[in-house]
Symmetry: C4
Subunit: 278 residues, 4 copies
């Protein structure tokens, strides 16, 4: 960062860092602007509000878009490697958050895509109590990542189950009772097994109700499986996070020794602060 | 509490303590009165009951209000520092529990706010088996407090997810199928993702049903996350509560002895502070 | 059991024990008869079935009732202390299972109460693989009993929450939108917070939908709490059940020593089979 | 496998093994064909699609059926013991996946049974990252198998509960409000207790709504039980899987060493079978 013009560095600190007073003020103002602009897009979709305040909301939309465009250009201008920012997750989101307004000049309706600005709110975790929140999120992320395979097996099994049960309902109920096709019946099976239960389609025949009972009990019972998987992972990670602060070997620097260990499990050297530090 | 008039002290013991016979009788009578008055408010809102017993219920309401007003004044009068009671959680609730009746003289309808008296029932935990119940509640409270950050991250992510999925449904289904605005569509996404599923709004198009399937499966799966978080916390707290009394051996410094252990399990030396520290 | 007539003892073994061949055959026949009679009662309530087979079902009902009456009298006759059986859980259920038919002579409709016979099916756990099933059930029962207090606190809090949220909805939505009284609104709050969501009552106003969102998210989140409580209990009990088989002290016969303990934690005597049995 | 003709062995490796390039290509092609054929059956059930592309879908169905028939015959021909394959789970599924098309020549409508082909997708776990996925599935399977008895007790209790609560609702609500028979009322109880809540049947009377509240709270609370059971099992299995490799020290006989430990953590002696058993 040596060859950078001083004003770029100063702007970068304000925009990208949250530790200085200016930086924090900027971040909070940005979050409020994002919230306001997402709120404006949502209100604009309500017919009665649009009829009354349509022009004001359109104006607000353009003001926010221009502000965010200036911010995006500044971000590009002040980072050392603009390409890296442009390709990062937040860089892409920042771009997507301004494009729909310009697109709406060509395609009416595109302005609804502006709610993608909501993703920018993810910055909120970076602004307030950064470390702690990210730490929590990272334990969650790790637990979810580690249970990925088990959950995939689980969801795969559910998908096959739902297809077969949905088809069975299609054959049992027939087209007269709302189960007009296999995809619709599979949709019903998903609605039922996840215990959502809209009620727009519901079995009418005795046999159909009997099968629906099976689907419901199944859904109610297997909800236990992902819960069990994720819980077990989180318990394990929480335990691991606690043990992480154990001692390192003074001779080979290996870590992860048990609390009651007296000798290094990797090289056999005596550990300091062991249970019987005689 | 020395300078207090004796009658105040005697009243205070009856009203605030639950250990004496008089105090317990007072508390039980109070709880019954609260239950009866909340029941009266609820019944009063049922048209057919109000038509028949409206006057009796109004009378009951005034009787309860006057009783509770006397009680409130007595509480203020007998505590050493009235201001502290008036500002405490229960002090505020006690005041809010009598205000609506007086307000209803000015604003008809305010008497419905009387159900806030329900909060007074929280005293029930204090009256019956105080210690144990509060102990349980405090483990729960601690577990919930410790998982606060993780749950905040979780709810924040859900909020952003629901906004984006709701908008997608609005764009897919259009205004003809009940998804009349983005806020309504976000409301639908919440109804679906929490597996409530009223069915007042439901997708009609094929693409909408496909997206709804994704929303349901997501909701069904991520219900595992808060469960996992809270469970892990409770397991940890329960374990910690057990290990809190861990002592180390005075002779070999080994740890991890059971709470009821009198002798070291590693070297057989007597432990301090054992169950029978004779 | 000495002074009992031999035939009574023989009948008792057949009726009450499940280990002999006769006893097991009797139990299986009984279970089938109970299932058949419950099925008959259920079918009898279906209008189309009753129209066609009403008389046959009535006849079956009387046959089953007379059979069960004979069985009940035999049970009373062959146990050493009839009063104790008559007052036991199964004794009361056995009586309740025959009374409704006789009652239906006086009060038509009472025969529907016969489904209480379903409770007799609880015997099934006694007949098949008795020990194991009861063992499992008893761990469950213990876990549930131990989490009773926490669950009571939890349900109490929910009850107060639901009352206040339901009243708020009544005030917000007004009587026009189905929220016709506070009890109905509280019912709606329960339907929503438990994620059942019938959809027979649903908020229509913007503010009502916003509050409904809060209710749903709350319900979806706090489902984690009882799960966490019960899970933690079961984990603890399962762990305790595993450690129960540890060694007993050869000198003071105390139990419950850790697996790696070398000395008795109660008296300090050396344990056999310890980790370092030097 | 010595006496087998070389071409049979070569075909067997391609069809049954997933490790060679040819074998993997075959498996992937097969999975795509299964997905395409299941998709064709589902689309064929949609009236509008059938009207337009009916003949093409019928043709595709026959093409897939003939392909799968050839594959089935080849599988039978190339395994050493055809009978064993024919009777295995996948052998039966492979047969069931082709029969309906031939059956549909005799019974129109039988072709809907083709979705049973979906079960063939279970092969997917075998093709991609075989070991890991199967390993995950086997921990799940073991946890579920071990919790079988507890879950059976749980489901049995629910079945009895639902029968009795459903009958109570039938007696309370009467036939006018949709609770037309006991089986229908039991069906309603299942819909409610599993928190699905279609809303096609809902209580109308005050007493009915009160009982429904009890059913909902019960359902909402006891969902914790299977979750607790399964979670406890998974935690136990995960812990057991970690401890399975526990070795004891050859010098001091202490146990509980980590899997990657080379030296005893208690006395520092070298362990057998360590990570680097040089």
């Amino acid at each position: 960062m040596n060859g950078i013009a001083p004003w770029r560095e100063r702007v970068r600190v304000v925009i990208f860092e949250a530790d200085t007073r200016m930086g924090k003020a900027f971040d909070v103002a940005l979050l409020l602007a994002i919230l306001a602009s997402v709120g404006a897009v949502m209100l604009d979709s309500v017919a009665s509000v649009r009829a009354e305040h349509g022009q004001a909301l359109d104006a607000a939309e353009w003001v926010f878009t221009i502000l965010f465009t200036v911010e995006y250009v500044l971000r590009l201008a002040c980072v050392p490697v603009p390409r890296r920012y442009a390709r990062s997750f937040f860089g892409v989101v920042d771009l997507l958050a301004i494009l729909p307004t310009y697109l709406s000049l060509l395609m009416p309706g595109a302005e609804n895509l502006l709610v993608i600005r909501g993703l920018r709110l993810l910055r909120i975790f970076r602004v307030f109590k950064l470390g702690r929140f990210l730490g929590e999120a990272s334990i969650l992320r790790k637990a979810l990542a580690d249970s990925r395979h088990k959950v995939t097996v689980f969801l795969g099994t559910i998908a096959i189950l739902v297809t077969i049960l949905g088809t069975a309902m299609y054959l049992i109920e027939g087209e007269g009772n709302g189960f007009t096709s296999i995809p619709i019946s599979v949709y019903w099976a998903v609605v039922t097994m996840t215990t959502v239960g809209y009620g727009d389609i519901a079995p009418q025949t005795v046999l159909g109700k009997a099968l629906a009972t099976v689907v419901m009990i199944t859904g109610y019972s297997i909800i236990a499986v992902p819960t069990g998987i994720v819980t077990a992972e989180i318990v394990e990670h929480a335990v691991a996070a606690k043990q992480v602060a154990t001692r390192s070997c003074p001779s080979c620097f290996s870590e992860d020794h048990d609390r009651d260990a007296r000798f290094c499990k990797s090289c056999g050297a005596e550990l300091d602060g062991g249970a019987t530090a005689s």
